[in-house]
Structures are given as structure tokens and as C-alpha cells.
């Protein structure tokens, strides 16, 4: 057993209000500079929708992640032995600027300096790249709040296995719905970006699992850009290097949560340590789609088990990480309650960011012109949820509906469990049955309620002290190590030669 510690994450989608405060916090801190204008290390998408870059989930187009080969082995979808070399020079699977968007600004000066005339002046949009006037035709959040859109929602790849009837619901005013999907780098346990890099510039930090790009080693080949199935690596056209979310490790190392976590208005984000068995990660990724969620769960190790802790010590996991793992909110959501799921596990990178799928609003009914609660109980039943189960299954369970149903049953049971404590419109027996069916004890239900609704900053972010100076190779001065941290370079870039 090779025990590794990972700073892992949970996003609780029932709580995301789509405000994009996270995106703005990240942008202001990390990517507000030339060459990075179009990058949003954190972005929030409206689902159904096509996201950013557009249709990023379409691996026929972008060839990201791993696939199981004929011999049952895992291979990068983006390259094989033959074309890895050729793709260094021309890679048709790269997203282009049009797949992201052309960043713009406005010619604000005209508001002050325009020649006199009959009309008030106006500031027209200009490209941040060329400085020329431009038409704004896409953006990093272009289909925000649209949902029922023939151009965007209708082209969401997750709708592909839905029935016609379910798809039609997308365009009916009384049935339409949407959800928000905030995304950052998943800091995967089996990162395809790391495997794809011809320069060995990408690495996964030993002590906490954060995936970084060494800016000194990066040669700008961009193999990682297409290999990352989440499209969370971006090429900086000014420095000629690739960049990505660094999980705000300078903040983590000083005891603060990453900027997007810290600023999250909906308090949907949780951060904590997971222990996993690195020896089993590759094997776990070879099972059929249906079995992937369970397979990945089986790699995660229970920090409350003394044998696991002993093995962790043997593998060199620090005592601080082991202690933090025992009070990890992520462990609770992912393993104890089995509420949080990986996004697109079928990309087979074993993402370390897990999502609690939303319990979508239950469909009401209209009778005699009056919109009423569904007859099926106070919160309805999840089969009549507005977002089809299959859609959520395609996002968070590689198509396995049973996994999603298990989660939604729990979410409904917890709501009834709390309802009966303050009101008398639900029968005790009914609540007991729901808990039983959801396989939850009352203590677990209370725990879910507390961590979901009234948790404090200390409950949501349980971070071990990270002692980077000890993890750095001895003899490497801070100045020499600067490039490897994913932030700045120590050598000036050489272009075209």
C-alpha cells in the first residue's frame, strides 16, 4: 500500500447561486495580466449548457483524459506512441481562441474625447489582443442563465442519452430548469496532463497532491491543454508557457483557504484531506463506466482505521496530514455519507474535487390556473425532479443512475428529518422509512444537516499546516525553486528559436 495524502474538495451544488464571486476572486488574484486575459482558472457554468471553452466535455473533439485500450490498459486519448511526436508540431485537438472567447474591453476614452455632436458619445468594444474594434460573440460565461437555448443547452453533450420527452422539457416554461456548475482544476489522482507533458514540466506535489506546472521547464508544447479533459490548463500567449489553477497554494501554506473557497457566497465549498492508495489508482480506472464511482471510492482509505494510519506513516505522510484527515469534511461527504461524486469519472483521471448533485426543484402542477405543490409529499419525489436523473448521472456517475438515486434519496430524507423536528405535517413513521431507505442513521442525517447548513469556516476548511520548506529538496534555494512552483519564471522566455 502506498498511502498518499491529497488536499481534496467538495462543492455542494444545492447551495451554488451562480454569483461568480469565486471566478472574480480568482481572476483578480491570478489571471489579471497580459497573456492571461482569457483564462478563468475558476469558472461557473449554467447547465444544461455548453460551458467554457465551448463543449469542453466533448472528447471526440478535444481528446482529453484516459481511455481503456484493447488490451485493457489505460492510455491517453490525446496521443499514442506514433502521433505524440507529430502532435508536438500540429495538434488538431487544441481549443482555439474562438472556443474560449476573444477578450475585449471598451474604448472608454471616447466618452471623454469624442468630437462634439448631437449625440452623447459611446464606448465601443475593442479586442484586448489586437486593440481593433470587434463584435462580441462569445464570452467565458456566454450561456449564463439561458438553459432552454436552441444554440447552447440543446448542444449539451450530457443530454445525449435522454429521452425525447426529457429533452422536450428543456423548452417548456413550466418544466424548464437549470443548475450551476462551478469548476476549477480537479487536482486529479491520475492526471492525464502530467502524463502528456513531453518536457516533464507538470507534476503532482508529493505532500498535498496539488498539480503544478514548472514554469522554467515548460516549453509551451501544449500537450497538456488537450490532454486535460476538463480544459483547465491554459496557454499564456505572452510568456509562451502553460498555466493552471494552483489551488492558491501560497494561501494554503499560510493557513488560508484558496481565494475561490474563501470568497464563495453560497458557502458551497469544502476543503479537507483524503488519504488514498496510490498503488491502486491506475487499476481502479480500468473498470467499465458503470463501476467507476465505486471503484474510485475503493481507493480512498479510512483515516479512522489505525492500520491505515500506520501505513500512511510508513509511506511518509506527515502526522499533521493524518490528523487533518480524521476531521476532513471531504471524507464525510465522499465516503461516510456517499453524497459527493466526481465530475465525469469516465474521463478516468480520478478527480479529487467531488460534487454533491443538486436536489432539483420538484415539479409542481397547475390546476385551475393555480400552481400547487406536487401531491407526492412535501418535497415531492426525485423521479419528478425537473432535471432528469439521467442527466445528473451523465455528469457525476458516468451514466450510472443508481448512484444518483442513492444520493437524492439521502438529500430528501435529510429534509424530512429536519422538517419533523419543527413542524407536525410529516409523520414520524414516514421519516423513519425515508431514512431507512436512504441508509442513513438519524446521527448521520443531523451531521449532513449541520455540515451543509450551519458549518463555520473552521468546519468547512480543515487544512493541515503545510511546511513547504521541509518538502523542498535540500540545498535548493528559494530563488532556484521559484520557477517550479507554477507561479513565476526564473529564466526569460525565448520565442521562435
Amino acid at each position: 500500500m502506498d498511502v498518499r495524502a491529497q488536499v481534496a474538495m467538495v462543492f455542494h451544488l444545492d447551495k451554488c447561486i451562480g454569483c461568480h464571486t469565486c471566478s472574480v476572486a480568482c481572476k483578480n488574484v491570478w489571471t489579471d495580466r497580459p497573456g492571461a486575459e482569457y483564462m478563468w482558472w475558476n469558472n461557473v457554468e449554467t447547465k444544461p449548457g455548453t460551458g467554457y471553452p465551448t463543449r469542453w466535455e466533448d472528447q471526440e473533439r478535444y481528446k482529453g483524459g484516459w481511455k481503456v485500450g484493447k488490451g485493457g490498459e489505460l492510455g491517453l486519448r490525446s496521443q499514442n506512441k506514433v502521433d505524440a511526436f507529430l502532435k508536438l508540431f500540429y495538434n488538431p485537438n487544441q481549443p482555439g481562441l474562438a472556443d474560449y472567447y476573444e477578450p475585449w474591453t471598451y474604448r472608454y476614452g471616447d466618452l471623454f474625447d469624442a468630437a462634439g455632436g448631437d449625440d452623447q458619445p459611446t464606448a465601443v468594444p475593442i479586442s484586448q489582443i489586437t486593440g481593433e474594434e470587434m463584435k462580441i460573440e462569445s464570452g467565458p460565461n456566454w450561456d449564463d442563465d439561458l438553459s432552454g437555448s436552441p444554440l447552447y443547452a440543446e448542444n449539451d453533450i450530457n443530454l445525449e442519452s435522454l429521452t425525447d420527452e426529457e429533452r422536450a422539457g428543456l423548452f417548456e416554461i413550466e418544466r424548464i430548469s437549470m443548475m450551476y456548475l462551478p469548476r476549477i482544476c480537479n487536482h486529479c489522482a491520475n492526471p492525464s496532463c502530467v502524463a502528456s507533458c513531453p518536457s516533464g514540466a507538470l507534476y503532482k506535489r508529493g505532500e498535498d497532491g496539488i498539480v503544478l506546472i514548472d514554469q522554467d521547464k515548460c516549453r509551451g508544447w501544449r500537450a497538456c491543454v488537450s490532454a486535460c479533459p476538463y480544459k483547465k490548463i491554459y496557454y499564456n500567449w505572452k510568456t509562451g508557457k502553460s498555466e493552471k489553477c494552483i489551488l492558491c497554494f501560497p494561501r494554503l501554506e499560510t493557513g488560508q483557504a484558496p481565494a475561490c473557497f474563501h470568497s464563495c457566497v453560497g458557502r458551497i465549498r469544502y476543503l479537507g484531506v483524503l488519504l488514498y492508495d496510490a498503488d491502486r489508482v491506475a487499476e481502479a480506472g480500468k473498470v467499465p463506466n458503470d463501476a467507476l464511482v465505486e471503484s474510485y471510492r475503493s481507493c480512498l482509505l479510512d483515516p479512522n482505521d489505525p492500520d491505515v494510519r500506520a501505513a500512511a506513516r510508513m509511506s511518509g505522510v506527515s502526522e499533521e496530514f493524518i490528523v487533518a484527515a480524521r476531521s476532513s469534511p471531504v471524507w464525510k461527504y465522499v465516503m461516510e455519507w456517499k453524497l459527493a461524486l466526481p465530475l465525469h469519472p469516465e474521463f478516468r483521471t480520478f478527480p479529487m474535487l467531488f460534487y454533491v448533485p443538486p436536489l432539483m426543484p420538484i415539479m409542481g402542477k397547475i390546476e385551475g390556473g393555480i400552481y400547487e405543490h406536487d401531491a407526492k409529499g412535501l418535497f415531492g419525489d426525485f423521479e419528478s425532479a425537473r432535471i432528469p436523473i439521467q442527466y445528473l448521472a451523465n455528469l457525476f456517475a458516468a451514466g450510472n443512475r443508481g448512484i444518483i438515486e442513492g444520493v437524492l434519496k439521502k438529500l430528501i430524507a435529510v429534509r424530512h428529518f429536519k422538517r419533523v423536528q419543527g413542524h407536525d405535517d410529516v409523520a414520524d413513521e414516514y421519516v423513519k422509512r425515508l431514512l431507512r431507505e436512504a441508509q442513513l442513521t438519524p446521527e448521520q442525517a443531523e451531521g449532513i444537516y449541520e455540515l451543509t447548513t450551519i458549518a463555520t469556516v473552521q468546519d468547512r476548511f480543515v487544512m493541515p499546516p503545510i511546511q513547504r520548506e521541509e518538502a523542498m529538496p535540500a540545498g535548493c534555494s528559494a530563488e532556484e525553486c521559484k520557477g517550479s512552483c507554477g507561479l513565476g519564471r526564473t529564466e526569460s522566455p525565448e520565442r521562435g528559436g
Partner: protein, 235 residues
Amino acid sequence: MISQPRRLLTTPFWTGITNGPRTYSAYCQNLEERIPWRTLTGRQHFYLDHEAYVAFGENLPTFKPRPEAAKVTRDLEKSRVPGGALVLNYLTPHGKWGIHSTYGDTLRMKTLSRGIEPVWINDRDAGLLGVEDNDWVEVYNDHGVVCTRACVSARIPRGLCFIYHAPERTLSVPKSPERGGKRAGGHNSLTRVRLKPLFMIGGYAQFTYAFNYWGPPGVNRDTFVVVKKLARPEF
């Protein structure tokens, strides 16, 4: 000049004292200092015991349908409705990201939306207009005109459109062909103040109104507009 937004205009009555860490909160004085509510009885009132309210059927909260025809609101007496255009009900709800113009006009928030304050319309209505998502449209009535791009979604009910409240009239505002090539306006160019008789009664206790402060709900944002495609925007 200051570099960050600051809290201002803190008042015990209107916002609660927000100088410290406390956020905006209404009616703090009545709750915390037990100052009687400004009503005839000093208590909160739900039922409005006044004969004019009774006559208008607004003595209790009630649903009133929107005016069904442009004739009732008389917004389109001087505006032409050419072939290919649609007459739609027009609303100006508060947006997702801003109260009035605050923050919504920053480059960051413009980038996270459409680079403009668009007009939202239903997909089938857009089909009738020959308008696709992000096409330019001209929206006008007797009060004014807006030229902007369309945001097309089945989420918007048929027969109405809206522009979020409230962009400044500075970014990317074309000239209006319908209005002789003059610079188009903002969302409020299409609305007008409508005095409602209930605004004019009372003048004491809970029947004391102030503009935009409290009072019976008005109908000034419930208007009708003509929407048509704008092939080539001119700036």
C-alpha cells in the same frame, strides 16, 4: 478618490447602523429600540383599513393581472409596428449581479455576461422576429428606444421581454434608425411614471408614501414595446 467601495449613508431608520460589520437591515429601530411602527396603532399592519383600498381591492395583498392590451397602457399610439416586428410586454427586473448600475458595468461583469445589457426574449418569439441569439434588435415605444443584442431562451415566457435594471448609457449603444439616427437610450427610456389613484390618498401614518420608498405597488414598469431586428448597428 478612494480605491475600494465604501459603505455610506448609514441611517438608523433606513439601513440600520451599518458602520461596523453589520449589514443592511430594515426596520432595526422598531425591532431593537422598540420604537412604535409608524402606523395608527404603532403595530405592524397587514390589512389596510381604508375605503379607497377596499374600493380598489388592495386592502389585502392581491394578484392583479398585467394589462392585456397595448390599448390600456397606451404606449404605442405614435410608434409604428412594421411587418416582421412584434409587440411584447416589457419589464425591467433587478438583475442577477447589480443593484441599478453598481458593479454591473465593470469590465469584469460585462465579460461574465454578454458585454452589453441584452434584451431577453423567448425562443419562439425570437423565431417570429427572425432573430437568433446575440442578434441586434431595436426595442421602442412612444417613450423611447433601446438598441441592444438579444438573449434568447425558453426560460422567458412568450409575449414578454425584459432588460435588467439598470445599465448606464455608455457602453456600446448604437444609434436608432427608428428614431432618425439618434443615440438610443437605456432600459428606462421605455418606461414612464404612471400615477395610480391609491398614491394620492392618505398622507398620514401607514398611508404616507415617498417616491420609490414605500406605497402601493405601481405599474410604471409594466409597458408594451415593439421589437424588431436591427440588421446593422451604427455607432
